[in-house]
Amino acid sequence: MSAVKKFFKAREFTSFLFLVGLFLIVGVINPGFLTLDNISACFNSSVVYTLIAVGMAFAIFIGEIDVSVGSTMGLSAAVAGTMIQNGSNWLLAFLVAILIGVVVGLVNGWGVAVMKIPSLIFTLGTNGILRGLMYLQVGVEQVNSLPKEFKDVSSMTLIGSFTIYYCCAVALTVGIHFLLTRTKRGRWFIAVGDNAGGAELVGIPATRTKVMAYLICGVLSAAAGIIFASRIGIVTSLSGNGYEMKAVAACVLGGISLSGGVGSVIGAGIGAVIMASISYLLVFMGFSSNYDNAITGVILITIVVVDALMQRRAAVNNRHARLAARTSAAPGGKEGLEQ
């Protein structure tokens, strides 16, 4: 298959078409929407989701899930925010935040890959612990007097009206995509998710790859936490709550299969933009934000149901095609069927 054809058949391309379609529909209803500023605002507001969704994509690639990303993000935002608020060095605060992500990732990876505990359950446990630690860190107060310079970084633009953060996130996503598809170690993640036993038999260290996936997931969530603190400027003890589900939703919207081994991080990035844009688009369509959750739910369910039905149909068609090929290849059909 040629590269172009492959590109158009990719699952993330469907998601991209869906996103463009969404923008066009809103544009038809309200022509005022189709300006560069509005569209770039949709992309810019998705930066936190993008990072978390790319991290989550790693956990889903290997056939597991990580529901502690929301609290990892919240905790790193709280810790980094408090440090910066108290006048410490930014770099030090970033390092501490990333370190939190590393520790969380290693613990999750240990529990899931080494101890072989179902990932949903183990990360649910770490999620509770992290959320509690966050209350200890933030308490009933909020981190809300972050220095202005720190908050201003979030509105600096790099290319056109895209912010520095979003450009970095896109560069990171594209970089990860190439590492995942072009390097040997990158392909391990998909291989382990597709068939863990088979991957191990051909010499891929499955356990180490799984720990690595959780490590990346933790680090990206922690990085998302720093950006969250900078963008929103307020960290409460509930910040990041529910982001894990939105990240899963973004991955699914981006064509990543929850059973592992299928999809790409680019898809996760596109899914994140869809998730982030919905509430923004609703405003332009004249709906109140009350419709936000309902529409997200309808879109999510519709996409996965249509995808499942299409896959089932493709599987049936493939079976018929194989049968037809076999019977036509062998005259009389008997030898062909015996194969």
Partner: protein, 355 residues
């Protein structure tokens, strides 16, 4: 037959019970519950007053009620993370139907249960008949039903954040009546749900089908079980249990709000897992889940009372409990560790024989 045989039979019966599918785990949970009572009771004797426990039970009864039926879903190999949004939806449907559409309060309650069952059936249909992963559908469902609850609340003349209150006394009585002037009615409802669920899961054909579908769906299909219908029905059951929890919460709080039960999901899954339910399906028991849910509930009640821990920090002990239990279980089922225990036991026997 010699006289010894009944005794031998009794021994093997005990052993059979001990080696039964859920007995050892349920025994551990019982010890955990007793340990909690002992520790909290020693720290503060107020904990041991039953009336106080019954009052506090209102905070964790929804977790107990829903997790029992989510166990059904998990035994079939699925998962249900939409139940907490159905709690809110039930509550607001009762409120709006009663206040703004002028329905009789019990008609409103019945309507809410029907709505919840339909929600469960919709998600169950997509999971069972379209073959979509349960996690994704119920994730979408949790968004959808939370959103629906919010939309229903805009139909009301009352501001959404205030909640609808002023329910008739007959409805509030649901959580005010006390059996024998002592046991609140909602506890009785919970116990009744446990009994019904236990009989349904462990003593009926339907229950055996649920296990079979969880262990091996194709084998179930080939042996004539309508596995799709069975799977769908478990989601309806869990949604209806969420509706019952929503009714109890609305009655107890006296207000109908669309965001009731928002934070229950994680606790419910924790209760199921702690109760010995296998998230890959095929294993679990009603009693285990009920005891695990009670253990979590008592933890959430005892910690603030006895150790002055603020309610916000309670996620830590619950999370630690879950992680410790699952890690401990994984370690205990590790072949090396089992062999080590075996050697330990063997050595004990030898030394006894030697003595």
């Amino acid at each position: 037959m010699s006289e010894k045989s009944p005794k031998l039979g009794g021994q093997s019966g005990l052993r059979r019970l001990w080696n039964g599918p859920n007995f050892r785990w349920n025994f551990f949970l019982l010890i955990l519950l007793a340990g909690e009572c002992a520790v909290f009771g020693a720290a503060n004797e107020k904990f041991l007053s039953l009336t106080r426990v019954f009052t506090a039970a209102n905070d964790f009864l929804p977790i107990c009620m829903i997790s029992i039926f989510v166990t059904f879903v998990m035994i079939t190999g699925g998962i249900d993370i939409q139940v907490s949004s159905i709690v809110g939806l039930t509550s607001i449907v009762i409120g709006v139907a009663w206040q703004d559409f002028g329905l009789n309060i019990w008609a409103a309650v019945a309507l809410a249960v029907v709505v919840a069952a339909l929600c469960g059936a919709l998600s169950g249909f997509f999971i069972a008949y379209c073959g979509v992963q349960a996690m994704v559908v119920t994730l979408g469902g949790s968004f959808l039903y939370t959103g629906l609850a919010l939309l229903v609340s805009t139909l009301s003349s009352t501001e959404a954040y205030k909640g609808i209150s002023g329910f008739p006394d007959s409805f509030k009585a649901l959580t005010k009546i006390k059996l024998f002037d002592f046991i609140p009615l909602q506890i009785v409802i919970f116990l009744a749900m446990v009994v019904v669920a236990h009989l349904l899961l462990h003593c009926t054909k339907y229950g055996r089908k649920i296990y079979l579908v969880g262990v091996n769906p194709s084998a179930a299909e080939y042996s004539g079980v309508n596995s799709r219908l069975v799977i769908m029905s478990t989601y309806i059951l869990s949604a209806v249990s969420a509706a019952i929890a929503g009714i109890i919460m609305t009655s107890y709080l006296g207000t109908a709000k669309s965001d009731l039960g928002g934070s229950l999901t994680m606790n419910i899954i924790t209760a199921c897992v702690l109760g010995g339910t296998l998230s890959t399906g095929g294993k679990g028991s009603v009693l285990g889940t009920a005891m695990a849910a009670l253990a979590i509930g008592l933890l959430r009640f005892g910690m603030p009372l006895c150790f002055k821990i603020q309610a916000q920090y309670l996620d830590i002990p619950v999370g630690v409990l879950l992680v410790v239990v699952v890690v401990g279980r994984a370690v205990a089922s590790n072949p090396n560790v089992i062999a080590w225990f075996g050697r330990l036991r063997g050595r004990g026997k030898e030394s006894r024989i030697g003595a």
